[in-house]
Amino acid sequence: MILCALTLVLLSILASLWRLWHATTPADRIIALDVISFQAMGALIGFSLLDGSPLALESALTISLVGFLSTLALTHLLVRPRNSEPS
Protein backbone atom coordinates (compact mmCIF):
# COMPACT_ATOMS: atom_id res chain seq x y z
CA MET A 1 0.00 0.00 0.00
CA ILE A 2 2.90 2.32 0.76
CA LEU A 3 4.51 1.25 -2.52
CA CYS A 4 1.24 2.06 -4.30
CA ALA A 5 1.17 5.55 -2.76
CA LEU A 6 4.85 6.05 -3.59
CA THR A 7 4.03 5.22 -7.21
CA LEU A 8 1.36 7.95 -7.12
CA VAL A 9 3.93 10.44 -5.81
CA LEU A 10 6.42 9.51 -8.54
CA LEU A 11 3.67 9.84 -11.19
CA SER A 12 2.86 13.32 -9.90
CA ILE A 13 6.57 14.23 -10.14
CA LEU A 14 6.41 13.11 -13.77
CA ALA A 15 3.35 15.33 -14.32
CA SER A 16 5.17 18.34 -12.88
CA LEU A 17 8.20 17.56 -15.05
CA TRP A 18 5.91 17.58 -18.09
CA ARG A 19 4.78 21.09 -17.15
CA LEU A 20 8.42 22.08 -16.57
CA TRP A 21 9.20 20.99 -20.13
CA HIS A 22 6.08 22.43 -21.83
CA ALA A 23 5.98 25.78 -20.05
CA THR A 24 4.12 28.74 -21.59
CA THR A 25 5.77 31.45 -19.47
CA PRO A 26 9.00 31.47 -17.41
CA ALA A 27 6.86 31.65 -14.26
CA ASP A 28 5.48 28.21 -15.12
CA ARG A 29 8.93 26.74 -14.66
CA ILE A 30 9.26 28.39 -11.24
CA ILE A 31 5.84 27.06 -10.19
CA ALA A 32 6.73 23.59 -11.44
CA LEU A 33 10.05 23.62 -9.55
CA ASP A 34 8.28 24.72 -6.36
CA VAL A 35 5.76 21.89 -6.65
CA ILE A 36 8.53 19.40 -7.51
CA SER A 37 10.34 20.30 -4.28
CA PHE A 38 7.19 19.48 -2.28
CA GLN A 39 6.75 16.23 -4.19
CA ALA A 40 10.38 15.28 -3.58
CA MET A 41 9.70 15.81 0.14
CA GLY A 42 6.75 13.44 -0.17
CA ALA A 43 8.85 10.85 -1.97
CA LEU A 44 11.55 11.07 0.72
CA ILE A 45 8.93 10.59 3.45
CA GLY A 46 7.66 7.56 1.55
CA PHE A 47 11.17 6.14 1.40
CA SER A 48 11.50 6.67 5.16
CA LEU A 49 8.24 4.75 5.65
CA LEU A 50 9.62 1.87 3.58
CA ASP A 51 13.01 2.01 5.25
CA GLY A 52 11.82 2.27 8.84
CA SER A 53 14.32 4.95 9.85
CA PRO A 54 13.32 8.58 10.48
CA LEU A 55 16.61 9.83 9.03
CA ALA A 56 15.03 10.83 5.70
CA LEU A 57 12.78 13.31 7.53
CA GLU A 58 15.83 15.53 8.05
CA SER A 59 16.46 15.48 4.29
CA ALA A 60 12.83 16.48 3.80
CA LEU A 61 13.33 19.47 6.11
CA THR A 62 16.47 20.44 4.16
CA ILE A 63 14.64 20.17 0.83
CA SER A 64 11.85 22.45 2.09
CA LEU A 65 14.45 25.06 3.12
CA VAL A 66 16.39 24.92 -0.15
CA GLY A 67 13.18 24.87 -2.21
CA PHE A 68 11.85 28.04 -0.56
CA LEU A 69 15.12 29.94 -0.98
CA SER A 70 15.55 28.88 -4.62
CA THR A 71 11.96 29.89 -5.41
CA LEU A 72 12.57 33.35 -3.96
CA ALA A 73 15.83 33.71 -5.93
CA LEU A 74 14.15 32.66 -9.19
CA THR A 75 11.29 35.12 -8.72
CA HIS A 76 13.83 37.90 -8.20
CA LEU A 77 15.45 36.90 -11.50
CA LEU A 78 12.02 37.07 -13.16
CA VAL A 79 11.26 40.58 -11.88
CA ARG A 80 14.72 42.00 -12.55
CA PRO A 81 16.71 40.16 -15.25
CA ARG A 82 20.42 39.81 -14.78
CA ASN A 83 21.54 42.08 -17.62
CA SER A 84 19.30 45.03 -16.74
CA GLU A 85 20.64 47.99 -14.87
CA PRO A 86 19.78 48.19 -11.17
CA SER A 87 17.01 50.63 -10.30
Binding site: M1, I2, C4, A5, L6, T7, L8, V9, L11, S12, I13, L14, A15, S16, W18, R19, T24, T25, P26, A27, D28, I30, I31, A32, D34, V35, F38, Q39, M41, G42, I45, G46, S48, L49, G52, P54, L57, E58, A60, L61, S64, L65, G67, F68, T71, L72, T75, H76, L78, V79, S87
Partner: protein, 102 residues
Protein backbone atom coordinates in the same frame (compact mmCIF):
# COMPACT_ATOMS: atom_id res chain seq x y z
CA UNK B 1 -2.22 0.97 8.99
CA UNK B 2 -3.00 4.59 9.85
CA UNK B 3 0.33 5.58 8.33
CA UNK B 4 -0.48 3.72 5.10
CA UNK B 5 -3.88 5.38 4.77
CA UNK B 6 -2.45 8.84 5.49
CA UNK B 7 0.35 8.36 2.99
CA UNK B 8 -2.09 7.09 0.34
CA UNK B 9 -4.16 10.27 0.83
CA UNK B 10 -0.95 12.29 0.53
CA UNK B 11 -0.11 10.56 -2.75
CA UNK B 12 -3.60 11.31 -4.06
CA UNK B 13 -3.23 15.00 -3.21
CA UNK B 14 0.22 15.13 -4.81
CA UNK B 15 -1.34 13.60 -7.91
CA UNK B 16 -4.09 16.25 -7.84
CA UNK B 17 -1.39 18.93 -7.72
CA UNK B 18 0.42 17.39 -10.69
CA UNK B 19 -2.76 17.02 -12.73
CA UNK B 20 -3.68 20.62 -11.92
CA UNK B 21 -0.29 21.71 -13.21
CA UNK B 22 -0.98 19.87 -16.47
CA UNK B 23 -4.64 20.67 -17.03
CA UNK B 24 -5.24 24.24 -15.83
CA UNK B 25 -5.01 26.94 -18.52
CA UNK B 26 -3.37 29.90 -16.77
CA UNK B 27 -0.15 30.40 -14.74
CA UNK B 28 -2.10 31.85 -11.80
CA UNK B 29 -4.51 28.91 -11.86
CA UNK B 30 -1.56 26.52 -11.91
CA UNK B 31 -0.10 28.35 -8.92
CA UNK B 32 -3.43 27.88 -7.11
CA UNK B 33 -3.45 24.15 -7.89
CA UNK B 34 0.17 23.49 -7.07
CA UNK B 35 0.64 25.35 -3.81
CA UNK B 36 -2.46 24.42 -1.85
CA UNK B 37 -2.79 20.77 -2.81
CA UNK B 38 0.89 20.03 -2.28
CA UNK B 39 0.91 21.82 1.12
CA UNK B 40 -1.98 19.63 2.31
CA UNK B 41 -0.29 16.53 0.87
CA UNK B 42 2.95 17.35 2.68
CA UNK B 43 1.04 17.74 5.96
CA UNK B 44 -0.60 14.34 5.41
CA UNK B 45 2.74 12.70 4.57
CA UNK B 46 4.34 14.15 7.71
CA UNK B 47 1.43 12.83 9.76
CA UNK B 48 2.01 9.42 8.19
CA UNK B 49 5.70 9.59 9.09
CA UNK B 50 4.89 10.41 12.72
CA UNK B 51 2.25 7.67 12.90
CA UNK B 52 4.76 5.16 11.54
CA UNK B 53 7.90 6.08 13.47
CA UNK B 54 6.63 7.52 16.74
CA UNK B 55 9.04 8.89 19.31
CA UNK B 56 9.86 12.46 20.24
CA UNK B 57 12.59 12.98 17.63
CA UNK B 58 10.39 12.21 14.61
CA UNK B 59 7.58 14.24 16.22
CA UNK B 60 9.95 17.19 16.54
CA UNK B 61 11.17 16.80 12.95
CA UNK B 62 7.64 16.46 11.60
CA UNK B 63 6.40 19.50 13.53
CA UNK B 64 9.38 21.61 12.45
CA UNK B 65 8.95 20.65 8.80
CA UNK B 66 5.19 21.24 8.98
CA UNK B 67 5.63 24.68 10.53
CA UNK B 68 8.24 25.61 7.98
CA UNK B 69 6.11 24.42 5.04
CA UNK B 70 2.99 26.24 6.25
CA UNK B 71 5.07 29.35 6.90
CA UNK B 72 6.90 29.44 3.56
CA UNK B 73 4.50 27.99 0.96
CA UNK B 74 2.17 31.06 1.03
CA UNK B 75 5.21 33.35 0.97
CA UNK B 76 6.68 31.56 -2.05
CA UNK B 77 3.40 31.55 -3.99
CA UNK B 78 2.86 35.23 -3.16
CA UNK B 79 6.35 36.02 -4.48
CA UNK B 80 5.65 34.08 -7.68
CA UNK B 81 2.29 35.84 -8.21
CA UNK B 82 3.81 39.26 -7.56
CA UNK B 83 6.65 38.61 -9.99
CA UNK B 84 4.12 37.41 -12.59
CA UNK B 85 2.21 40.69 -12.28
CA UNK B 86 5.37 42.81 -12.13
CA UNK B 87 6.95 41.24 -15.20
CA UNK B 88 3.69 41.91 -17.12
CA UNK B 89 3.27 38.28 -18.11
CA UNK B 90 -0.37 38.32 -16.94
CA UNK B 91 -2.86 41.08 -16.24
CA UNK B 92 -4.89 41.60 -13.08
CA UNK B 93 -8.69 41.75 -12.79
CA UNK B 94 -8.98 45.29 -14.14
CA UNK B 95 -6.98 44.41 -17.21
CA UNK B 96 -3.98 46.53 -16.33
CA UNK B 97 -0.56 45.31 -15.32
CA UNK B 98 0.51 47.19 -12.18
CA UNK B 99 3.69 49.17 -12.06
CA UNK B 100 6.83 47.43 -10.98
CA UNK B 101 7.54 47.71 -7.29
CA UNK B 102 11.09 48.51 -6.36
Amino acid sequence: MIASILFLLAGLFYLIAGLGLIRLPDPLARLHAGTKASSLATALALGAAFAHHGGWWSALLALATLGFVFLTAPLASHAIARSLLASRLVQDAEGVAPDRES
